[in-house]
Structure formats: C-alpha cells, structure tokens
C-alpha cells in the first residue's frame, strides 16, 4: 500500500472528512424524520430543505464564548471533548466502506471497536464529574448506571455474530456474509434487535436519554459545556450515531457487500453502505420518535431481567446451530 494513498484515505475518503460530512447529513435526516413523525416540517430555511442546519449549529457553537467555570477540573474539562471526538472517529476508520476491509483492520478488531464504545461512555462519565455541577454529577452517575445496563447485552449480541462467523475479525465477518447470507436474515435477527436497543442507549437517545434528561437535570453531564466544547460533544454524538449504524450494518447486514459489477467495487460499495446505514438510521429515529423516556431504574430492570437472559439464550441458540 502506498503511504500517501493511505493518508488520503484516513484524512479524506472514507476517513475523517467523509465521516464528519456524513455525520452532519445524518443529523439533518434524523431531525427531519423525527419532525415528520410529529407532524412538523423540521429545519427548512438553512440551505435547500434545511440540509445545512447541523453545519450552521456547529459553526455557531464554535464561534461562541467558551466559558470555563471556576470550580471545574480544568485539564480534564478542556481535553475531554477532543478525546470523545477522537474515539468516535477512530471507530469509524475501522468500518469497511470502500472495500471489505476497513482502513484499520487486524484480527480481533471487533473487540477493539467495543472497547472504543465503552471508552466514549467513560469519557462521558468523566465529563460529568469534572464539571463539578450537581446536575452534571447526577447525569454522570446515571450514565454509569446505564452503562451497566446496556453494555452486557450489546457485547453478547456482538459475540453471537462472532460465533456465527467463527471469527472476531470484521473482514472475515463481512466476507462470510457476502458469500453466504446476511446474519439479519435468519438466526441473527434477535441479535440485531438487541444491538439496536442497546445502541439507542449508547447514543443516549429517547427512550434512554436518561443521562441528559432535560426536564429533570437541565442537560445532564453536558450542562456546563458551552461554545466549542459543546460543539465537539455534539459532533461526537453525530459521528457515534453514524458509527453505530455502520457497525450494525457491518455485523448484521453484510457491510458494504451487495450485487457488484467487476471493477466498479470502489464506487458501488460506499453506495450500498449508505443505503444500509440509512435503513438503520431510520430504525433508530423511529424508536426515538415513538417512545417516551424511561426512568433509570426501569431501564436497568428491563435490561437485567429481559434483555440479558434473551441475549444469553440467543447465544446458546446460535451455538447449537453453527
């Protein structure tokens, strides 16, 4: 591999710039679909059909005053937004988009991706605690409790994919799916459902937006962040949304594979990837629009009483079949 080409891949396509661009588009789509469910039109006047709305929000937040309160833990408070964004972008690099291999690809990279997701949540907890604001602290506590709830079923559903593919390497998982069948069709559908529910909790969207519950604890762990720090955290959320739908596509919907014409793979693969992630995004947004927020105890109860047993049974079932 040429080093210059690799650098271009990481920085522009399908790397960081592409991820940020797509994250803005996805936030816009998310808001539009959400508005449709509520019989509204959503962003309309910022660019054609309001497509530039997330970009305008981002630029505005970048240009705003950046307040650092006296009581915060300053080093942590300043560096955490950058950490969060870096982690989510690193995760995106490992997803296969232009070929069956991601830019970062090694045996066992699925575990690496899961660790990244947990690290983002730990950054969230630190962000809440370092703000030393009572609302932020409560938000961080809730984020930690929620992590205990959704983390285990999510890992179990990912492990079920590992068993089906007999590998923890994303390249092999995708190529097996492109040669045989998508894991969604068949035994994987339960795992997919569990993954989507836990993904919703990971992204802190309704019904699991407990750590940033607006009506109870102001803005949760985000309360004290303003200006560009808040902009980076918002961007992190959007990239994470993209990353999670991409991961769901990779694990259950066959990644970027699809009917191909020889020689045209680098063009067709990203198109298939986009179509499939849009489908997952639509599912996630539908969940967000249809439900109301749960209480934290309801969420943890639901997770430990129903989600984890179902996930374990699913693993046993998959192990018997494959």
């Amino acid at each position: 591999m040429y080093p210059l080409l690799e650098l271009l891949q990481i920085l522009i396509f399908p790397g960081i710039l592409f991820a940020i661009f797509l994250a803005f588009i996805y936030e816009w789509l998310d808001r539009k679909i959400y508005a449709k469910f509520q019989n509204r039109v959503g962003p309309l006047y910022t660019g054609p059909m309001g497509i530039l709305q997330p970009f305008a929000d981002f630029v505005k937040l970048l240009a705003k005053e950046d307040i650092v309160p006296n009581d915060v833990d300053k080093p942590l408070f300043n560096i955490l937004p950058i950490f969060a964004l870096t982690l989510s972008l690193t995760g995106f690099l490992a997803l296969p988009i232009i070929s069956l291999k991601g830019i970062i690809s090694f045996n066992g990279d699925l575990i690496f991706l899961i660790v990244l997701m947990t690290l983002i949540c730990i950054v969230v907890i630190y962000a809440g605690v370092s703000s030393s604001n009572r609302f932020s602290t409560v938000g961080a506590e809730r984020a930690a409790l929620q992590l205990l709830g959704y983390e285990i079923p999510m890992m179990l559903s990912v492990v079920s994919v590992g068993i089906m593919a007999n590998s923890m390497w994303i390249y092999e998982i995708v190529s097996i799916q492109s040669n045989t069948f998508w894991f969604l069709i068949g035994p994987g559908i339960l795992g997919f459902a569990i993954f989507i529910i836990c993904g919703q909790a990971e992204l802190e969207r309704i019904p699991f937006d407990i750590p940033e519950a607006e009506t109870e604890i102001v803005a949760g762990w985000l309360t004290e962040f303003s200006g560009r720090k808040f902009a980076l955290f918002r961007l992190t959320r959007n990239v994470e949304l993209l990353y999670l739908s991409g991961l769901a596509v990779t694990l259950f919907l066959g990644g970027p594979s699809g009917p191909i014409i020889l020689g045209l793979e680098p063009i067709l693969y990203p198109i298939y990837f986009l179509i499939k992630t849009l489908f997952v995004l639509f599912l996630l947004t539908t969940l967000r629009a249809l439900f109301a927020r749960l209480r934290i105890d309801q969420m943890v109860n639901f997770s430990w009483k129903y989600l984890i047993p179902i996930a374990i049974l699913h693993i046993l079932f998959v192990r018997v079949i494959f």
Partner: protein, 140 residues
C-alpha cells in the same frame, strides 16, 4: 455575508425564563414551539441549559425576588447573547407597574434586544419578534 454571522442567524437556540408570569405568555411561547407553528423551521430549538442558549426569552414582570436569579442565568449564558421580552408585564411591568415589588420593565435589569407586546402575545407575534431580532442582527 460572513459565515459566522450566517450561522448565528440560522440557529437561534432559545432559553425560556419565567420571572413570575401568570402562565399565559408561557403557554403562548410553548405554542410557538409546537407542531402548528414549528419554530425549528428557522433552526430554533428550546434548550434547557443557559450554557447552550443564544436567546433568553423572558416572560412576566421582573420582581425583586427573581432579579438575582435572572441576572445569574443571564451571566451564565455565553456571548453573543440576546434577550427578548415577551408580554406587556415583562416590557413595562404591565398591571403591576408601580408596585413596590416589581421593576418597571426588564430593560431596567438587563439589556433587551427585542420587545414583543401583547397580553399575552399570539404565537405569530412571538415568531415575528424572533424574526425581527434576526433582521436586526443581519443589519448590524
């Protein structure tokens, strides 16, 4: 037009502050955010934290009790910030003008950028007020 100004015009995030209104103005502010009028068309979102907001929407007469809290929330907002006074009570004290516990208008406490009169103002009037504020920004 420079890009930062454009972004500011396109995404005014609101923070709603009630200084002791009778709830009529509050209901009208909420009505302006509901699907019938849908302020999100203009990029406006209702935010819960003062640190995230650009526009402070104040309803109700400013009493001596609430003045300190109002100033505190105002100071917590990052620059550039704008203030909209909604309703007659907020603009001048309304029927409470001259009471020992009420300030004669919001502008005697914090600088105000737009006034929306009415008791209570209609949601159309509130949207008009926000648009007037944006026009003023565009000109400045």
């Amino acid at each position: 037009m420079n890009i930062v100004k454009w972004a500011r015009l396109k995404s005014p995030w609101l923070l709603h502050f009630n200084t002791g209104a009778c709830n009529a103005c509050d209901i009208e502010v909420l009505a302006a955010l509901t699907p019938r009028y849908d302020l999100e068309r203009f990029g406006a979102l209702l935010k819960a934290s003062p640190r995230h907001a650009d526009v402070l929407v104040v309803t109700g007469p400013v009493t001596r009790q609430v003045k300190d809290r109002l100033l505190r929330v105002y100071n917590q907002m990052p620059d550039p910030k704008f203030v909209v006074a909604v309703g007659t009570c907020c603009i001048s004290g309304g029927v409470f003008n001259g009471c020992y516990n009420v300030y004669p208008g919001l502008d005697s406490v914090i600088p105000v950028d737009a006034y929306i009169f009415g008791c209570p103002p209609k949601p159309e009037a509130i949207i008009n007020g926000v648009v007037a504020l944006l026009k003023k920004l565009e000109g400045s």
